[in-house]
């Protein structure tokens, strides 16, 4: 499995922990809430029990207080008012009966049929007398419905029991009147007897919660009665719900954002991987490229170099990057021209066709390179530098040069062969009439030495001899015609132009031989009548000779100077070399045809040159160079009066 997926999976762990914490928090909150409710319930229940207890105590105390008045005398209006006070509508005490010390019923309020009296339990009266405090009786079902119980309150004087007042409590009234409104709102209160039956209850219509209940002894009256309190279903408690839902909401947002984050991460990792793959591919391409690549900023400092370029020049990329010109791989002999090329490129005038330069490897080996420069445009379209691709063309150049030399040699050979063939044909053709003439001549001699000479025969033979001489002359004439086919084509030409063209043609050769050609051309030259092709051939011949003469010289002497000057009525062209010079024995024969000092020379070059010069009414001479070497001087007339047509 790939790395990013492992990362993505790891991030689930804190998420799960987080979710667990949320759930725990929720759970704890719920527990706490329930506990709080329960506590509230219990404290409320206790409060209610206490409150009922106080109610009973106070009622008992009032009954005890009023008892002497009830027992001893007729009921005075004050007593009556007090009774009514006690039995006021909002209490659960519904009736008061009073008895004398013997247990006879003296009166009852509100007055009731006597049957009520029978319900007074003498045992409880006795018991109350004995314990000298109020005693509660059991709950019974009242005749008129509902449940009631009684309280027996003994009243004593100093002499003993005075009487007993009995208060009747209605459970229903108790529940409906003695409980505060908020309590009954919140809880259902019921009274359960000892056998578990509910005998009275106060309830709302709302369904009951079975979770929050509390039971406690209903004492007084006691006797196994129990108060059972059940909390109504709680009203919606908005705050915790809001709290919890906001927590859940936040958790959901968190989850969502986490999921988004994760998706983003996966995408990013995917993109990174794709990018890395692409980068690696591009790097591999750059590394396996055979063409050298190098980038430079606008100041010409190297900012990038690919391995092919590094291999080419022999420097490591670390060494190359940040380098300023002049670069260490520039050939020391060409630093000036390289700097010029460099400046030209930086100024945006580089050639799109590529520039040929000479570099040097670190080990000092020179090599020829072909550079293509293009502006480096970044993603925002800003021009940030220059991108160059460099090809090592040394081998290619060498092969080209070899091919050129071979071709030249071939041409020379072909020329030689053609000349040889021409000479051979000429010889054969001329041989025929000559041989015939010779033979006729012998025959006529034979005739002359014979005894009888026939004049007719002699005449015939000599006529034939004459015919053969005409034939020979015709052959010669044909050769001349053939030569005449390369007649000059006269034009108005500017000698300097021809020289520039010729030097351009020679440039590559001179560069190869590391010969410097200096030209100093006069601006004052008038146009002349000449055959441009012939004249250019003459110039090329002279310059090539000069270069060949310089070839074996040390570098400082490998200089060929081409100069033009106007010396009315002549134009002077001189081609000077600092070569080996011309030995005197060669000097005499220099212009002879088939004389050559060169191994492969045909010995026609200077001969043709002189012919061309003479054709242009000029002269070709030479003199030794004062500093060694030779100067060839072509003198051409400015105005040629008559030009051969």
């Amino acid at each position: 499995m790939s790395l990013p997926y492992r990362i993505a999976r790891l991030t689930w762990l804190p998420l799960v922990v987080f979710l667990l914490l949320i759930v725990a928090l929720l759970w704890l909150t719920l527990i706490h809430d329930k506990e709080t409710q329960r506590k509230t319930l219990i404290s409320d229940a206790l409060w209610m029990g206490q409150s009922l207890h106080f109610q009973f105590e106070r009622n008992a105390a009032q009954l005890a207080q009023i008892a002497p008045e009830l027992v001893t005398s007729d009921i005075s209006p004050q007593t009556d008012a007090r009774l009514r006070q006690i039995l006021r509508a909002e209490t659960s005490l519904i009736r008061i009966t009073w008895l004398d010390a013997e247990g006879n019923t003296l009166g009852t309020v509100p007055s009731r049929p006597a049957a009520a009296h029978a319900q007074i339990d003498p045992d409880l009266i006795q018991f109350a007398r004995n314990v000298t405090r109020p005693v509660y009786g059991p709950v019974y079902r009242a005749a008129q419905g509902g449940h009631q119980f009684k309280v027996y309150v003994p009243a004593f004087t100093d002499s003993g029991l005075l009487g007993i007042s009995v208060g009747v409590y209605s459970l229903e009234a108790l529940l409906s009147r003695d409980l505060p409104w908020w309590f009954t709102q919140r809880y259902r209160v019921s009274i359960v007897d000892s056998s578990g039956n509910e005998i009275a209850a106060r309830s709302h219509a709302a369904p009951l919660s079975d979770t929050l209940t509390h039971s406690m002894a209903f004492e007084p009256p006691g006797r196994g009665l129990q108060l059972h309190i059940v909390a109504y279903r709680e009203d919606v408690r908005w705050i915790p719900i809001l709290l919890i839902s906001s927590i859940v909401g936040l958790a959901a947002i968190l989850l969502w954002s986490f999921w988004m984050l994760r998706r983003q991460l996966v995408r990013r990792v995917d993109a990174e991987q794709a990018l890395r793959g692409e980068t690696l591919f591009r790097k591999a391409m750059e590394d396996s490229l055979l063409t050298g690549l190098r980038a430079r900023d606008l100041d010409g400092r190297i900012t990038y170099a690919n391995p092919a370029f590094c291999n080419m020049v022999g420097y490591s990329p670390e060494e190359l990057i940040g380098m300023d010109p002049p670069m260490p791989y520039w050939h020391p002999d060409h630093i000036e021209s390289l700097q010029k090329t460099h400046d030209m490129i930086l100024s945006g005038h580089g050639s799109r066709a590529g520039i040929e330069v000479r570099f040097m490897r670190r080990n000092g080996e020179p090599f020829d390179a072909l550079i293509f420069e293009a502006p480096l445009i970044d993603a925002n379209g800003h021009h940030t530098g220059w991108m160059g691709s460099i090809m090592d063309i040394t081998e290619r150049k060498r092969i080209r040069e070899l091919a050129r030399q071979q071709e030249e040699r071939l041409h020379a050979t072909a020329r030689l062969i053609t000349m040889g063939e021409m000479a051979s044909t000429l010889a054969h053709e001329l041989n025929q009439p000559l041989a015939a003439i010779n033979t006729y001549n012998s025959a006529s001699l034979n005739l002359l030495s014979a005894e009888q000479t026939s004049r007719d025969e002699l005449h015939e033979i000599h006529t034939k001899i004459a015919r053969q001489t005409y034939r020979a002359a015709a052959i010669i004439h044909r050769v001349h015609d053939f030569v005449r086919r390369s007649e000059p084509k006269w034009e108005r030409v500017q000698l300097n132009e021809l020289i520039r063209e010729a030097l351009e043609l020679m440039r590559a050769d001179a560069h190869k031989r590391q010969i410097e050609i200096k030209s100093r051309l006069s601006n004052a030259l008038p146009q002349i009548n000449a055959d441009p092709i012939m004249l250019e051939q003459l110039i090329i011949n002279l310059v090539r000779n000069a270069m060949e003469a310089s070839a074996q010289q040390p570098r400082t002497r490998r200089i060929v100077s081409v100069t033009t000057a106007l010396q009315p009525p002549h134009i002077i062209l001189s081609v000077a070399d600092r070569g080996h010079g011309i030995p005197p024995e060669s000097a005499k024969r220099l212009f002879e045809p088939f004389f050559s000092t060169k191994q492969e020379g045909m010995g026609m070059g200077l001969n043709i040159c002189r012919s061309i010069a003479e054709l242009h009414h000029g002269r070709l001479t030479f003199e030794p160079h004062p500093e060694g070497g030779t100067i060839f001087i072509l003198t051409l007339p400015v105005e040629q009066e008559s030009v051969p047509q």
């Binding site: 054969h428 041989a435 033979t439 015919r467």
Partner: protein, 201 residues
Amino acid sequence: MNTACAHIIDDDEAIRDALQWLLKTRKIPCVTWPSAEAFLAALTPDWHGCAVLDIRMEGMSGLECFDVLRAQGNELPVIFITGHGDVPMAVAALKKGAYDFIEKPFDDSDLVAVILSALEIDAERQRARSQNLAVMEKLTLLTAREREVMELILKGKYNKVIADELDISMRTVEAHRSRIFEKMGVRSAVELAQTLKGIDA
């Protein structure tokens, strides 16, 4: 054209004509041919004399013509006329049995001398050939037995040895011997051997 003459084969009319004049003034019979093809077309085996062939000609060259001649078994002596630079070709032709070559432009007396000597050689050969023909004719007169005996005589064997080898009597051998000498027109074994020299019996 049974008489011996020099056959001049050259595609250059002037050369042909000049040579004809030259040979005419030296009284040498000659015939000229404008090309090798014309010469070969007219050629019969009984022609004598010599052929003067220009090496370089339009159409069939002199060398090719020479090869055809030799292939036909014609032993006419051939003299090549070569131009400048054709010498190696001429030398090769010499090795193949050409008589001689003359370089153009030629010294006419040299050429005439070479032609004369070639004609002489050819005449000599002609004579030898006619002599051989006579001997061959005589040989046909011999019986088979006489031929056998003659071969043994030519090997230089004595009559006795011959008699033993052929299982015949000495007398018979002697009789054969005298008849052979008679038929061949010789008087001794030595003369017989001389006559038969150069003939493939």
